[in-house]
């Protein structure tokens, strides 16, 4: 059964078409990579799924119900959480409070929310930083805080927008481990990522966008050898 079903979604900004007729499905428990050159419409697609933008055409279904037209907070309540490419921590709050604020989504009790928040900080390896004001965190930690915060809303589907960009090799490995652990919990994940090694090793399936259109979809193996994808990334193939 597909958890997320994007059906013929288009999104226009004035005359510019940021997404054209994009369709794909995400199965429960999968990790789906979303790749494409800069400006291909990856983040726009996340914004459509997450509710910041309404699709100009087409519809998005989550658990077989349409979610297009709902507000971001309603979509989050239904079980889709996201992180931001440009991190948006709640700057003047501590790391713990950041996670606590999102943990309140499914409970009004402070004790329960605090328990959940501590669990998640442990899970994402941020326990030691819990009292740091998030403004002062290094970028790697802030990226991870984004993931922690999204997890605290107890989502079924997690949208990660370049959560690996700008990390050093150690942080990168840690983050990959965290993503694997999240999947083991049964949470479905969609990742936007430019880091090919990461996306090829993590994803079960990959969707490729170029100029707002889906140009390929398949397993990492298939994508690697797809001429259209190679062309989008490397330019037209020269006849040797």
């Amino acid at each position: 059964m597909s958890l997320l079903d994007v059906k013929k979604v288009s999104r226009f900004f004035g005359g510019l078409s940021a997404l054209t007729n994009v369709s794909f499905e995400v199965n429960k428990g999968d990790i789906v990579g979303l790749i494409g050159p800069n400006g291909a419409g990856k983040t726009t697609l996340f914004n459509v799924v997450n509710g910041f933008y309404k699709p100009s055409k087409g519809e998005v279904f989550f658990r077989d119900r349409t979610i297009s037209g709902l507000k971001p907070h309603q979509i989050c309540q239904q079980g889709i959480a996201r992180t931001f490419q440009v991190v948006k921590p709640l700057q003047r709050m501590s790391v713990f409070d950041n996670v606590l604020a999102s943990a309140f989504l499914r409970t009004a009790s402070r004790v329960e929310a605090a328990e959940l928040a501590l669990d998640i900080l442990q899970f994402t390896g941020l326990s030691e930083e819990r009292n740091t004001i998030s403004r002062g965190l290094p970028l790697g930690m802030r990226k991870r805080l984004e993931i922690a915060r999204a997890l605290a809303t107890q989502p079924e589907l997690l949208l990660l927008d370049e959560s690996f960009a700008g990390l050093n090799p150690t942080e990168l490995n840690e983050s990959i481990q965290i993503i694997r652990k999240i999947r083991e919990k049964g949470i479905t994940i969609m990742i936007i990522e430019h880091h090919m090694k990461v996306i090829m090793s993590l994803s079960d399936r990959i969707v490729v966008l170029n100029y707002g259109e889906k140009i390929a979809e398949g397993t990492p193996q298939e994508i690697r050898h797809n001429p259209l994808v190679v062309e989008a990334y490397l330019g037209e193939t020269q006849s040797a």
């Binding site: 910041f52 989050c76 931001f84 948006k88 709050m93």
Partner: protein
Amino acid sequence: MKKYFPFIIVGLLAVLPLIGLSSYVMHILILVIMWSVIGMAWNLLSGYCGQVSFGHAAFFGTGAYSAGMLYSKLGLSGWWGLPASIIIVTCFALVIGYICLRLRGPFFALATLSMGVILRIVAENLVDFTGGDLGIMIRERTWVEKMWYYYIILAIACGTFIVIKMVIESKLGYYFVAIREDQDAAESLGINTTFYKTIALCLSAVLTGFAGAFYTNYMGYIDPKVVFALHDISIVTIMVVMVGGVATFWGPAVGAIIMVLLAEIIRSIPTLGTAHHTFFGILLIVIIIFLPNGIVGDFPKLKRLIGLARRPS
């Protein structure tokens, strides 16, 4: 010690009038406590939830007029204005919130600024309804002695403090701060930002309205230029919190003490009296540059500054 601090303060304030203070000192104390209430209310909306309001006079005046008009139109005691203002001010806040809360940041601030001014003009011109510029006079004062007013405003202040402390330490408070820090992030974390901003606005408005209703009963006279005043109410509210400390529990109280005393002191100097707003302006500039988090928020910094000044001697 720190846990009992609020109780000690309230205890001290409760016995203070028993030592026989002059009615002038009592008046100052009442004003200080009233401004703490307004400051705490503003702090909830603008300090914690980040929706800076330049028009709290709108709610103060609405509260004051609901008390005054219950008396002048229906012949009820002005004290009914306290419960009545919960309903009336909430309705007003919902209308204002519906219009203004779709705006963000400075646009919201400007919209609230205009709300205060609009309400003043309405109150001035609906002569049959509000009495216009003549204002409303409460002819039968409930008490002559100031002591009772003192205890009533003290009770309102304690209630306000408890409400705000409970709100801030609960889910609501975390949501408010999340909205202040990043509205888009808050929205994508499942927080219905419009809804929670409306709650913050209504709570803040009702508490401010309480202070307004109290003001009518205490002063016995209100007119639109006084209770809907831009500089004497809306701006002083902001100053009280800015001076004391934005988004701190004790900031509004500290700010109220300083602002009321300062106003009294400056006004008592004959040649400078009329220029007291100038001093407030200068004070605000100094605070923003040197203590951007206010006296309570920047207390460690303040202590260090004073410590530095003392060291050479």
